[in-house]
Symmetry: C2
Amino acid sequence: MDDENTILQSGVQSEIELAPITRRYFAEITPPSLADNRGDVERLRQLLFPAFGNVHIPFRLMRNISMICRDANWRVTALLGQTGLGWELLDFEAGDTTGRHYGLAIDIGTTTVVASLLNMQTGACLGTVAEYNGQCVYGEDVLTRVFRALEPDGAPLLQQAVVSTINGLIKKLCARIEIENKEITAVVIGANTIMVHLLLGLDPSRICREPYIPVLNSTGFLRASDAGIKVFPDGVLYCLPSVGSYVGGDVIAGILVSGMHKRQEVSLLVDIGTNGEIILGNRDWLVACAGAAGPALEGGVVASGMRAEPGAVDEVHIDHNGVVRYHVIGGGKAAGICGSGLVDSLAEMLLAGIIDRCGRFVDNPCQSFIVVPASDSVNEKDIVITQTDIDNIMRTKGAVNAAVEVLLESIGCSMEEIRYFFAAGAFGKHLDIESAVTIGLYPDLPRERMIQLGNSSLEGARQALLSIDKIKEAEQITSKVTYFELNANQSFMNKFVGCKFFPHTNLEYYPTVRARLAERGLLQPALR
Amino acid sequence: MDDENTILQSGVQSEIELAPITRRYFAEITPPSLADNRGDVERLRQLLFPAFGNVHIPFRLMRNISMICRDANWRVTALLGQTGLGWELLDFEAGDTTGRHYGLAIDIGTTTVVASLLNMQTGACLGTVAEYNGQCVYGEDVLTRVFRALEPDGAPLLQQAVVSTINGLIKKLCARIEIENKEITAVVIGANTIMVHLLLGLDPSRICREPYIPVLNSTGFLRASDAGIKVFPDGVLYCLPSVGSYVGGDVIAGILVSGMHKRQEVSLLVDIGTNGEIILGNRDWLVACAGAAGPALEGGVVASGMRAEPGAVDEVHIDHNGVVRYHVIGGGKAAGICGSGLVDSLAEMLLAGIIDRCGRFVDNPCQSFIVVPASDSVNEKDIVITQTDIDNIMRTKGAVNAAVEVLLESIGCSMEEIRYFFAAGAFGKHLDIESAVTIGLYPDLPRERMIQLGNSSLEGARQALLSIDKIKEAEQITSKVTYFELNANQSFMNKFVGCKFFPHTNLEYYPTVRARLAERGLLQPALR
């Protein structure tokens, strides 16, 4: 994988005021004299005070400060890292080394790990690389990995797997940008709660059983060496904080990047990956819920499903004559269909009258629809959408609809009050908005108020790396989010059972879809 | 050595409000539920917040918190330590362990190391023990040790020597009080700058040559394991801070214990040990100077000199008939004379007219005075005071007088403005005030305003151990002290040369001594 693959790229990015979590500070220190006989450590401490307050100087560095100052003729660079309580001296070097100061933003997805190298002095992104998460060999889905982690020696194995992936990405970036890995002094991770636990070798067992309690929501500021990440060993490691077990740091990143927590109007944020998370709120309140809704959309379970990689059909169009056109990632023959191709297919099948609003095939004895005929397929087999595929998507979309309704109900807010919609996560960036609205996965809002955030987990990590204020903002978000546990929520189950229509039981909420269905004569007269 | 020997005991002690630098905090944590699904680490962090603010939780402890909480049925004890930036979690245990919480206050003298074990919950002192500083084998005086430390492998050798002494004292205290050494979670050291450097294995070379710069004045909060002190390894280690190279943490302790930094009136504090330090000041200003003035008084160089240990003559009285009476430490025959015995002898010789105010023998062709005849001496040799001994003391006292004058001059203050006098250090406690005034080592103030602080280095360490506020106070003191380097001070040299009279060139300053000399007919008519 590399950064040409757009699914790995950040989408929405915002300019932020640079206040990174590690700093290189160059100083020309006034040498001591009879009239100024402070100790060398005090001289440094007092020099740093105006910019950093009372800096913690660890013992291992105290030993060398005197020698370094004199060898460097009092021209020195201090490397400082944030501890959460203030600044700590991480390293101390002769001369001016401020020009070589790098940080890593990492999104650890269940499937893919993406890493961006940033210049911490300028904020510039110097490169982004991606690789499959090395944990995939221990299970495609998160639960399988958790169970594997609970076996003897499982936790170190799972940890080693993802850390190896990260260290491989670091090696690749360092080679490309021509820097040494020890020049990277800070790492920020955007990942869900289980991924963070597996990265740190923490026991994930209680996340998966009632009452679903993680070891931690916020790691605070750790050392890169705590996780075995091969950068400057005393470099700072921070993982974006989570709420409960199922609203992970990746989702908090999405909220942070969307800015929904600062708006007066109500926004809805949906992050559908292997899991689905839904956040509703504004600057005064935020409510959230989550569930394992995603696999159908990630291409894991559909008949011809595959990941969004070369050979996957990612766009589908059916014209007035029923002719299917499609796009294959990387060109050439199709090997299967990925999530966005699947949603496109369903939307087009609905608009073409091939399936009805209940998701049933109309006048089709085969109970399947051929997207790519065997002659154009790599495996010389038809690439099809089956009734099972449609039912899976209906369930996913129904779960999202039901969850949104539960959240609205919980806060006493109506559907009409939702003013902004954010699609978070890499999948959200790839999905065609019109298709997602057509099947009812997304709400039917004016399109200028529907924003695809792209890989907001990576973007949130980038912002946190470059700005302590963004970290504070992320932590404030977590303290504001109220989490609704759907696993034990009867109202959700009732609503979920009722959500059996494309795009929605109540077409009032979907004016543009209603118009298009009506245009094509696909609505019963009473609904026109 | 043990705590029966009063020279090792603290003198002035004050009640302080308990706010120790490590804390044990017991809590019954509300277990998690579906309605409260915070991570275990957050649950702990938020529980500690009201009492400790944002607590830093190190990674090594995060791993075990979940298990300990559940095993202990959510009844747990957190051990917290001060970092200077706030509180850090040092340990986390099942059940209520608050009853076992100990700290060590240590005075590291050039000759003697004294350690007190304190109950950190109640503030009670549970025992005090002392031992010769293991470094003595590498040199009696500080400079010899510094030179030894600069030889290859010298620093670790000197460090190991004093750390072994400390660990021996810890073993003794733990055995006596029946505790384990890992139950000691905090250590505070009162010591001069060189002793602190040698303890920590820091390079002391620049302390001894112009412009006399230590590696550090304040260690901040270190780990006991940084120095190899065998208590709880992550326990807090703090050394009282110094000013410049020659006003050490032991002297800052003296100021702290005296309270002179909080009085409106001007006080003079003198700490004479192997080195002599002099502090003048009040709540608005503090000026200090120091010099290697002490060896004569510590019994190191006089003809019959010895340390204040069993066999030493420590009190001397000469009656109207010239009959000498003396006291021997531990009883029995005398082996030599210690500092306090020497000062007593000189004062009595002056008042008996055996020496004159210039320190010269009057009508004595032998140029020596027998304190203990050979028949009463262990070695069957006369224990005598020689002209050289008298000259040495005259120089020491002259240096103190000159230094006080330099300080007074520097601040534009007169001798008459000195309202309080504090004698710091163990030696200061042992010395007879009347004798010290008679020879002019101490000023001639009303006796109720002359206070012997005893081992104020140990007492300062005790206060710092039990109170973060006292640590802040000590650090504020260092920031207020202006240090005068006498080594390069011409005014001091001029004054020193002029200070050749007992008790002082200007008898006006010594009204009680003048009266006693006059009473005995020992003053020239013009001075009566």
